[in-house]
Symmetry: C2
Subunit: 352 residues, 2 copies
Amino acid sequence: MLDLSNPSLAASRPAGAASPVVAIVGATGAVGVELLKCLEARGFPLGALRLLASARSAGRTLPFRGRDIVIEELTEASFAGVDLALFSAGSGISKRYAPIAVAAGAVVVDNSSAFRMDPAVPLVVPEVNGAALAQHRGILANPNCVAAIATVALAPLHRAHPIRRLSLATYQAASGAGAAAMEELRASTAAYLRGEPYAPTVLPHPYAFNLFSHNADIDPASGYNGEELKVVAETRRILDAPGLPIGITCVRVPVLRAHAMAINIEFDAVVTPEEARERLAAAPGLRLVDDRSANHFPMPSEASGRDEVLVGRIRTDIGDPSGRTLALFVVGDQLLKGAALNAVQIAEALRA
Amino acid sequence: MLDLSNPSLAASRPAGAASPVVAIVGATGAVGVELLKCLEARGFPLGALRLLASARSAGRTLPFRGRDIVIEELTEASFAGVDLALFSAGSGISKRYAPIAVAAGAVVVDNSSAFRMDPAVPLVVPEVNGAALAQHRGILANPNCVAAIATVALAPLHRAHPIRRLSLATYQAASGAGAAAMEELRASTAAYLRGEPYAPTVLPHPYAFNLFSHNADIDPASGYNGEELKVVAETRRILDAPGLPIGITCVRVPVLRAHAMAINIEFDAVVTPEEARERLAAAPGLRLVDDRSANHFPMPSEASGRDEVLVGRIRTDIGDPSGRTLALFVVGDQLLKGAALNAVQIAEALRA
């Protein structure tokens, strides 16, 4: 049985080594479905694939590489023989079952927030801090979707010129709240267009042609919501910039599956838009969409279903008289780079 | 005939003076329709009401106070006997016909950008800089919708503590691009939900469950678009803060008629959220929506059709270590405070 849990073994294992037994925990969720698609599209080597979910979903099947795979109920015995477990079933499930999976010999890549701030657990965006992978002791954390997408665009600049201060305003898609929220956006919008009332059940506010401050609970001391505080803490960790001042407003917009963000980046010195454009164009995982004459910049409609994070509207922030702040607009697929794709990229990097 | 064009006369005229003859130029547009509704809802005194539009619309009728008013074609002769002309038919029409209306004895309140930066034309949000009204020489400019909505929330703070720097990210509704854009949002979304293709004709990008950088042309030198540069210039003028550094990203979101904005405000000294909340709660034209425990903050669904600008998410910006920056979230009806209502409020203030 392939053992990915030992980093020194993983590092020395040649490409094309024995294919691991992979389990997906939360296979029926919005991210779970994308994990399956990513594994299939990228030809991830699989000794076997096991789909784990709640008792409610057990017995159903999901298609994979032309076959139907039966979903099994997640139990404490589920991880026998599993080499790699991709968790995407919420923080509570991860806290309970990830240690069990590790004890059974699996490496866990966890998409929840359960372990992201645990100093013993690497929080990884492979293009940004792939070196942190080697530190793992069985669990690796997949970042918050905004942090993952933002850091892909921030890292190439931060490496060249340390970032001194960040400000973000987000435009976050329904998918971040799961498949049911995406369906609520579709159904409530259809009802609105028919002139019919619709009572939201997944999100706390009407969603049809509406937007609202992110629905995570507010920290009474700071007035920031949980999503914003996650992005701040995780962005600092991924960029290895402890204490970096980050201001952020997280807003849920009526978009299905790609997150957008307006980012203002203050540096210690002037960084020209031309230099930033060159660095971003050359960076992995990014695609420059910055056509001023055609008014063509990153959009959710072009980022959805796409691996790359789109970056554009690169300009010197006219709101900072020092000229040391750049503004840019970044859009990435929340389910891909913001979740499933990054998790699979972590798994690929472990095998590389 | 009532002469509102002489400010000293206007200032001395008692309430309940003879009712003016009012013309609406661009009566069939999204803002034109709201102008009619505002005049009706607010009981604006009218000697007569004339609806002016292009030859294409002439002969149609629009309902007003239970009657049908026939739309007349706009010509150079249209303004004979008109005391007050509310223009909302684009910059070109305003540039051509507003001087003709003034020469015919009318006061013009212009909703286009034609005269907003003309030093001889007051640019007015009555709650903010109503004193500027008295300077007019026949034309008054109604601000850009983002500038009008933002300054209602900024002025009560700026008056108490001079603002030193501003940063905005907007979430702008379809209505800012007119009634046809609102219809394109509805129709393209309906097509999307049916799984059918839709070719946009009004806006340059797909709009269903999508967002994009504001479609105004980009200034090649700065990389800012025309909408952003308008907001910067007009906000400075309305707040009487020449040279105030303002950074901004304007984004069109799939919302029908209310603009939202995340605003970060740097002051010369610390301003606490508690103080800001008190000042904003007491300010005219604003409504505080800032319930952290219920996660209830300003939303387009609650601002649409409403006169007040909603403000909330008031907190100290954790991205500024000096503690001198406040963050807040502001939403206002683009067609009301962002356009028609503010124009009618200017007309009311002229009569007061």
